[in-house]
């Protein structure tokens, strides 16, 4: 890595905009994530968080704006190319491969960097162990619980060896103890591998515990950003989103 690249952001989003026939779902959104940081993207339902993720991951083409991974533009690339470039993502509504085993689901992710199926399977098992799913490896995704499917979603994304991990509400529906375990996993992962993480999350317990920096979206626009503490004191944020919630 050159000196210039190491100084630049791992992910830089500039003026990102997406219009759906009249509705501007994401409106001129800009933020930067330094290498190794954990950022949270929060906001009320319909604020444009998942649309932003879809544009970063290539599932949606931006109407305008730029997405840079380590200084390299991702706009116009296909989702699989963006995956290989180092972006792993999970889906808000879990999307496992239903007719192949949990281990094979994860091995598909590992095949993005290796052609050796045996190596992919070994790596998949390591990912499953990391997320506490190893004992479910031979099960079909339909036969495991929703929290486990959420973990599977994370394991598959992680198996692609991402530099940037996009997590879309992976803690929704988890019990507080499960949330804490997941938070601990991500924190350890972030410390050990230096993976940059951007997460969309409604579970404030997780946002507060995990993120170094929070970006708040409302009606497609960034209305505030800063440390979790700063954001939660911001009157605009409180008004639009957190106003009624008591934060611990």
């Amino acid at each position: 890595m050159t000196a210039a690249a190491s100084r630049s952001a791992a992910l830089k989003v500039e003026g990102l905009t997406r219009r759906f026939s009249g509705l501007t779902a994401v409106d001129n959104v800009s933020f930067e994530v330094p290498p190794g940081a954990i950022h949270a993207l929060i906001g009320p339902n319909g604020a444009g968080k998942t649309t932003t993720f879809n544009m970063i991951a290539g599932a949606l083409k931006p109407t305008a704006g730029e997405v840079l991974l380590d200084g390299r533009s991702l706009v116009g690339m296909r989702p699989d190319q963006i995956c290989r470039a180092g972006v792993g993502r999970t889906f808000q509504v879990v999307r496992p491969f239903g007719q192949i085993s949990v281990a094979e689901n994860v091995a598909v992710g590992a095949l993005s960097w290796t052609d050796d199926l045996a190596e992919a399977r070994r790596h998949a098992l390591a990912m499953l162990e990391l997320l506490g799913l190893a004992d479910k490896r031979n099960a079909l995704p339909g036969s495991i619980t929703l929290p486990d499917r959420k973990r599977l979603e994370v394991a598959r994304a992680l198996a692609t060896k991402p530099k940037l991990l996009l997590l879309d509400e992976v803690m929704a529906g988890l019990r507080p103890t499960e949330t804490d375990r997941m938070v601990a996993t991500f924190r350890r992962l972030n410390e050990e591998t230096g993976v940059t993480i951007v997460l969309i999350e409604h579970v404030m317990r997780a946002v507060m515990a995990l993120s170094h920096h929070v970006v708040v979206l409302n009606y497609g626009k960034v209305i505030a950003q800063g440390t979790p503490a700063e954001v939660t004191r911001n009157p605009d944020v409180l008004a639009c989103y957190l106003g009624v919630e008591e934060l611990s």
């Binding site: 699989d80 999307r95 491969f97 239903g98 192949i100 598909v108 992710g109 095949l111 960097w113």
Partner: protein, 332 residues
Amino acid sequence: MIRRLTDGLPRRALALLLLFAVVMALAPFFVSDYVLSVLIISLYFAFVGQAWNLMLGFAGQLSLGHALFVGIGAYTSAALFTHFGIDPWVGVVAAVALSTLMGCIIGYLGFRFSIRGVYFALLTIAFAEFTGIMVDNSAWLGGSAGLFLPVKNAGSIDLLNLRGPPTLFYYLILILTGGALVLCRFLLNSKLGLYWQAIRDDQEAAEAAGVPLFRYKMIAVAISSALTGVAGVWYAFYYNNLFPESTFATGRSVELILGAVVGGVGTLFGPILGALILTPLGELLTALTSGLQIDGIKTFFWGFCVVAIVLFRPSGVWPWLAGLLKLDGRAR
């Protein structure tokens, strides 16, 4: 290589498969000419069903026009043979090249422009239909009057020109069916197979996990159309006559895949089992009702079978039978 093929298969399954292979290999010595002809056509449907299943069952792409690839393979090799005396062993190369090319054209149009599901199936039907019309209007290919291969006295075996008794064609299609089974097992347990299954189960999720959709779908169509083209060559030299209407019709495409549907889409042994159940039953019914002059009884019966399968064994007969035989539920 052998270990990779048998890895994960229970011993029982291997033993049963071996027994099945031996029975099939010895069958011509024990059965009548009529039963042999039914077995031959069953194996033909098993082979094409396997090739078709590779596309839908493994990679999730529905083709309802596989008669097209049979037809291209058949007409190419038959025309080369009748017009230029080119033997089928050379003809098969041209036949496979052309049917694969056609598969790739359809695949390109479908996958490049994201035509999915039933709309992709319609595209395959359209290509089969218009190719049939083109052949119908080609004097060089015999037009609607048909293309006929010269038949020598049936007693002697001419392996080079594939002229000979039904037993020759039985062993040929048996080898092809066995080969396709081994090939599919090998492909399914490779990166290719895992990527196909990922695409089949969730295309967007597969793409997000790094699967290049277009390339892997194209490979599926290419292999499937190539194998089906080989079946076409066999078909031409076994029947010795080709008519565009019966070769390319959508009804023929449906007939080709019924065995695989009944046996179990996405399973390895389903297409073989399904063809070995459906074809003999259809023939039996035709024989039993031959005095009654009921038109279309076979088609009606096959339709009935499909409805019954969809209602009672939606994943096919094979997964259920594999369970009964205590083979691993996922042994396919």
